[in-house]
């Protein structure tokens, strides 16, 4: 009895979570501009999507921004995390406080503060300003993901490695780094996801014809319902599913490997 109730609950929640996405996908094949009755199967919205230069351009920028921001934040974040770990507590507290601000402060406030800075400093808004903004809100998450890993390390593992004859470089890469690697990958993943999905901060710091996917979707959504957006959703959702399946296969391979 309890099982039925439980499965019903899961079913309802999953329906709630996926219904909108499924509707988007189904209607992306509907031969009608409005989301009403079914009017026949068509792929024309997908064709129109790929002919829309603004969407393709937005996709291009979104990926570039995400890749650059993720790479920079992961490297800088990890290095800084190492430094933070060695920091005296008098400096550590304000440092971490500053680092937490982008995490705690609402997106819109981050957006307008950065926009105000750029305007006040007379900087030209464009790809550079967006990337700076993305790096600024990504690094904190990398640090938050990597730093705890240090706290779990045995106290003098680095010195122990040195004692056992490793050079500092070997000790770092072969002993320290593998321990913090899960945090680094986790941080990189979070940074990438945040950057790809960002809207508000990008909205305020974009310019000069540079626009990311979220901004483009927002303008299109404000103009009303458009099946091209549905087609885009379907493709993006498909990519996510493929990615998940790939990750799943790899992790299962990993498990089998250990076994």
């Amino acid at each position: 009895m309890k099982k039925i109730f439980r499965n019903l609950a899961f079913g309802l929640i999953l329906l709630f979570l996926y219904a909108p996405i499924l509707v988007l996908i189904i209607y992306s094949f509907n031969d009608s501009k409005i989301m009403g009755p079914w009017a026949g199967f068509t792929l024309k919205w997908y064709v129109m999507l790929f002919q829309d230069r603004y969407i393709l351009q937005a996709l291009y920028y979104t990926l570039i921004i995400a890749v650059v921001a993720t790479t920079v934040s992961t490297i800088v974040g990890t290095i800084s995390a190492v430094g933070i770990y060695r920091m005296r507590s008098g400096l550590k507290r304000p440092y971490l406080l500053l680092n937490n601000i982008p995490v705690l402060v609402p997106d819109i406030v981050m957006g307008i503060t950065l926009m105000s800075l750029f305007i006040f400093a007379g900087m030209k808004m464009g790809l550079t300003t967006i990337i700076i903004a993305h790096i600024t809100f990504c690094i904190p998450y990398v640090i938050l993901a990597v730093l705890p890993r240090f706290n779990r390390l045995p106290e003098n593992i680095f010195e122990a490695a040195l004692d056992l004859g490793a050079t500092p470089r070997q000790a770092f890469w072969k002993v320290l780094f593998p321990e913090i690697l899960p945090g680094v990958t986790s941080g990189a993943l979070i940074a990438f996801t945040l950057s790809i999905d960002d809207f508000v901060i990008s909205f305020f710091t974009a310019g000069n014809g540079v626009s990311n996917l979220s901004i483009t979707i927002y303008s299109m959504a404000k103009a009303g319902i458009n099946p091209k957006i549905n087609a885009l959703s379907t493709i993006m959702f498909g990519c996510i599913m493929i990615l998940l399946i790939l990750i799943n296969i790899r992790s299962e391979k990993g498990i089998k490997h250990i076994q």
């Binding site: 890749v67 808004m125 303008s219 404000k222 319902i225």
Partner: protein, 346 residues
């Protein structure tokens, strides 16, 4: 090792896809209303003049003004409306047009030139014009559509769409009360505000571009629209009508201007001239739906446009419509404050 190579090669993909190497064509940055120019026309310009057009869009004159005024982004071509052009001129933000560089100006009808906001067309070149009016669903609306009052009729509760723009919505409310759309008296402005607050429960939404899809699907019974949007909706959907209320309305002119700090003013003038060629103008008209003062372009249009009430604006309607004037900042403060109060009210 293999993993690292794989990751690195994946990282390179976006760079390759975007086209490596620098783009050394000339650049033109255009800032226009959304849905206000045929993208294929822009592409054709890029091809013929071997340049790259950075095309950005805005949804209101005010948004455009804030962006242009504050950011150090430079634009080569802007397409503001009359009152905004007035403001930009008074703030010395525009570059005078060299008429010799735009021979196609000859195609523009005299009635759209030398208007109060830009005497002698020193700074602007006409693009589209229109009037604010009401588009309505003939199947759902049984009353004659001849007054702004219809938007306050609670028979159509939750089926009325208002425009998400200060001057347009306030303008409709002012006209309904018998005031001018360029009203400066605080008492009258506040009266218009109160009427809009009273109307709010009847309003389905404050919209801009999505007025088209909402009227097309029949979700809404009537909407305050610019005539061009009405023309487009009506050309695609049946059962729609367009009317300009008898109290009078707003006539607007959207013109090309070149900001003072434009990086490429010569190319900008070529762009404007290109847009005035009859074939190009005709294509834009068919894409945008707004009325055009370009006489040879009108001749190239399909016959169906002459029946379109949103496209063919009658002389009477134009005569009883006012063009917005740029109001002094202390008056605009009253409007802005009123608008915020309307937005916040229940």
């Amino acid at each position: 090792m293999k993993k690292i190579l794989l990751i690195l090669s994946l990282l390179c993909l976006p760079f390759l896809a975007g086209g490596c190497g620098s783009d050394d064509r000339a650049e033109l940055t255009v800032y226009n209303w959304g849905d206000y120019m045929d993208p294929e026309v822009i592409a054709q310009f890029e091809e013929e003049f071997n340049c790259r057009v950075n095309y950005e869009t805005f949804t209101s004159n005010e948004d455009m003004y804030v962006k242009v005024k504050n950011s150090s982004d430079t634009y080569d071509v802007l397409v503001p409306s009359d009152y905004m052009i007035e403001r930009l001129i008074s703030e010395d933000m525009l570059r005078p047009i060299t008429k010799d560089n735009i021979p196609n100006l000859a195609n523009i009808d005299a009635s759209a030139q030398d208007l109060a906001f830009d005497p002698g067309n020193q700074y602007s070149v006409p693009y589209f014009y229109g009037v604010l009016g009401i588009v309505y669903n003939t199947a759902q609306v049984t009353e004659p559509v001849d007054s702004w009052n219809l938007l306050w009729n609670d028979k159509y509760a939750s089926k009325i769409l208002m425009y998400d723009s200060i001057r347009d919505s306030m303008g409709a409310s002012l006209k309904r009360l018998g005031f001018s759309m360029n009203e400066t008296s605080e008492a009258n402005i506040n009266a218009a505000r109160d009427a809009l607050i009273a109307q709010k429960p009847l309003v389905m939404a404050y919209v801009t571009d999505n007025v088209k899809s909402l009227m097309a699907s029949g979700d809404a019974a009537m909407a305050v629209v610019y005539s061009g949007d009405a023309a487009i909706i009506m050309s695609e959907t049946d059962n729609l009508g367009f009317a300009v209320p008898k109290e009078g309305s707003n006539a607007f002119y959207d013109n090309f201007v070149i900001p003072k700090n434009a990086q490429n003013p010569e190319l900008a003038e070529q762009f404007i001239n290109f847009m005035l060629t009859p074939e190009i103008a005709a294509r834009n008209i068919e894409y945008v739906g707004y009325s055009s003062p370009n006489t040879p372009a009108l001749a190239l249009l399909d016959a169906s446009w002459s029946d379109n009430a949103g496209f063919n604006i009658s002389k009477e309607d134009l005569a009883r419509s006012e063009i917005f004037k740029d109001l002094p900042s202390d008056v605009m403060e009253i409007y802005n404050r009123a608008w915020t109060e309307i937005n916040v009210s229940n």
